[in-house]
């Protein structure tokens, strides 16, 4: 290992592993919303990346406005920006479900095309409203800088923040789906729509809220995204294929599978990036996923359902 000392190698290993964890957090945040929309409801939302971009732009707007009108508030704006990102993405998702998705539940392939059209329109709206250039948020002090446990290890604080947020959101989704009354209704509806309707669950409302919630989580992902990198009109499309693969690879209806697959994909990618170019690492990762999916089409973890 050309000229590295043992401690240096250790540090590289830790930092590379941490880079993988950051990627894991971003992928998982993106995939959680999709796990509800695609995994639970079976809707292919190609515009999911754009809902993330909505969150990112909201946060950027928030930071610009705060810096302009209340510079003293700049250290605290972030949680509010996140909340507003969630609400805006939730609201738009609610409307999109009402106007478009609910007419297409029986035609999943057509949903794919319609939401692709939606994503094109949203991209152009972003471009017209915010310009084609990438923008970034002014980060609060406490997100800048890095954490240095030893001389040679350097872990950025924003990465730690995103990881913490991911854990929080994941637990929230778990609680929502598996412990709350709403989650019970969502799971009942996805497992047997007719029976769920027969016992008095308003399945249409459940659909709408689930879809909107998935979009809202994408909005939070977008807000978190601004702490790591800048945002452009087409940012969302860069991640959409990866996100779908995470959900499919994990096993569509399994939330645990989503977490496991986001972790393995992110780690595989960042470890390989150390040995070869980024594009080859990506190609190899994607090929491996497809290879495994061909052997196990139902994904890593699947719930056995009688069909």
């Amino acid at each position: 290992m050309g000229g590295y000392t043992l401690t240096e190698l250790g540090s590289i290993f830790v930092m590379q592993g941490f880079a993988g964890l950051s990627l894991f957090s971003v992928l998982l945040l993106m995939a959680l919303g999709l796990a509800i929309i695609f995994g639970q409801m079976g809707v292919i939302n190609m515009a999911h990346g754009e809902f993330m971009t909505i969150g990112a732009y909201t946060t950027v707007m928030f930071s610009v406005l705060t810096a302009k009108f209340a510079p003293g508030f700049i250290d605290y704006y972030f949680p509010f920006a996140m909340l507003v990102s969630f609400l805006i993405a939730f609201g738009i998702g609610y409307f999109v479900e009402f106007a478009m998705i609910r007419h297409l539940y029986k035609r999943p392939l057509d949903t794919l095309l319609a939401t692709w059209g939606l994503s094109l329109i949203m991209q152009q709206i972003f471009r017209s409203a915010f310009g084609a250039r990438e923008v970034s948020a002014t980060l609060p002090e406490w997100l800048l800088g890095s954490f240095q446990p030893t001389e040679s290890i350097d872990i950025p604080l924003n990465g730690i923040f995103v990881m913490g947020l991911t854990v929080f959101v994941t637990l929230g989704v778990f609680y929502f789906l598996f412990k709350s009354r709403w989650g019970l209704r969502v799971r009942a509806t996805t497992q047997n729509r007719i029976m769920a309707g027969a016992v008095g669950i308003n399945t249409r409302l459940v659909d709408r809220v689930s879809f909107a919630l998935g979009c809202g989580i994408a909005g939070i992902a977008g807000a978190a995204f601004t702490t790591i990198t800048s945002t452009g009109p087409t940012t969302g499309t860069l991640y959409i294929v990866d996100t779908f693969l995470v959900v499919v690879f994990g096993g569509a209806a399994s939330l645990f599978g989503t977490i496991a697959s986001a972790f393995s994909i992110a780690q595989a990618q960042s470890i390989m990036e150390f040995f070869m170019t980024g594009s080859m690492a990506k190609v190899l990762t994607l090929l491996t996923i497809i290879g495994i999916l061909m052997l196990r089409p139902e994904g890593l973890f699947s719930i056995k359902v009688r069909k």
């Binding site: 478009m100 297409l104 319609a114 017209s128 499919v248 990506k282 190609v283 497809i290």
Partner: protein
Amino acid sequence: MKAIYNNLLGGRQGVIGLALLAALIFLVLPMFLDIFRLNLVGKYLTYAFAAVSLVLIWGYGGILSLGQGVFFGLGGYCMAMFLKLEASSPENTAIQSTPGIPDFMDWNQLTQLPWFWEPFNSFPFTLFAILAVPGLLAYIIGVAMFKRRVGGVYFSIITQAIAAILTILIVGQQGLTGGINGITDLKTLHGWDIRTDSAKYLLYYINGGLLIGVILLSRFILSSKLGRLLLAMRDKEDRVRFSGYDVSNFKIFIFCVAAMISAMGGAMFTLQVGFMSPSFVGIVPSIEMVIFAAVGGRMSLIGAVYGALIVNYGKTYFSETFPELWLFLMGGLFIAVVMFFPNGLAGLYEKHGKRIMEKIKSLRRKPTPPAEKTLAAGNDTSAAAREAA
């Protein structure tokens, strides 16, 4: 004779549709357009190959492949590799540090032609590869997916990922593939300059002829027993399987045929446009090809050609005059076609155009007895599907 007339040409209506299309391609457009615009139409018609292939696999097979751009691109790249090798003969590239290899390889410090470029020195091999490479890839994907009964949405997502992989690969391996710029500066085919006006005319006609041939071939496939099985599989896959058919083999076959048809379009694209780049391979072009088929009518081979022409004409027109508006229109088109006109232009014709024609005819005829009418209504859907093909 009668069988050929009914199956291959699709009866009276099919003949009229095909004749109209052929007249448009071979007579009307060349008469009214200058060579620049005609060359553009030729480019649109190469997309029509992909749209026709999607009618086969998506409209009839019910399998939404988001990887037709991959096959289109592979066909185009095969052709481009041959032309590039011809354009980089040692005399033409004497100023390079290694003469005789394509310029982008020289820029990337390659000193030898990579092994997979070698066979593309031969034109017969290139023609073979244009069909064989995409066909083989489609076969591998098809066997791996359909034998494991991966279908529907999963198939779409995986083919989309394959499109992403191929784009990343081409862009990343700049020295081997020309990277993001693609393979450019293609000049001659066997010493015949493809950039002259006369060559462009000839290529346009070859392209049109191939397209009509492809439509006839597709119609032949669809009117055979295989075509009926495809429809049956799309609607009730399990029943076909329970009747003793190996469903996956039919799917693999039609997927390979569709791949080869797209690849032909790609090769013609390279010849007419004069370059090939990864921007015709990836996710976006692949999904745009679906919209060509959807606008034309996913069940109509001829409609797919019109769909490709109209959408691409619109794209050129709007991105020249109102670039801001184009994505709105394209997005709106996706949504509108799916939500309001699932059968596209052909569907609109079936619904309204035919009724108007009938009305004109019935003015001269006595009204049909009601008993016959109900019978006709019962057969309507299957008859419509047959005629649309």
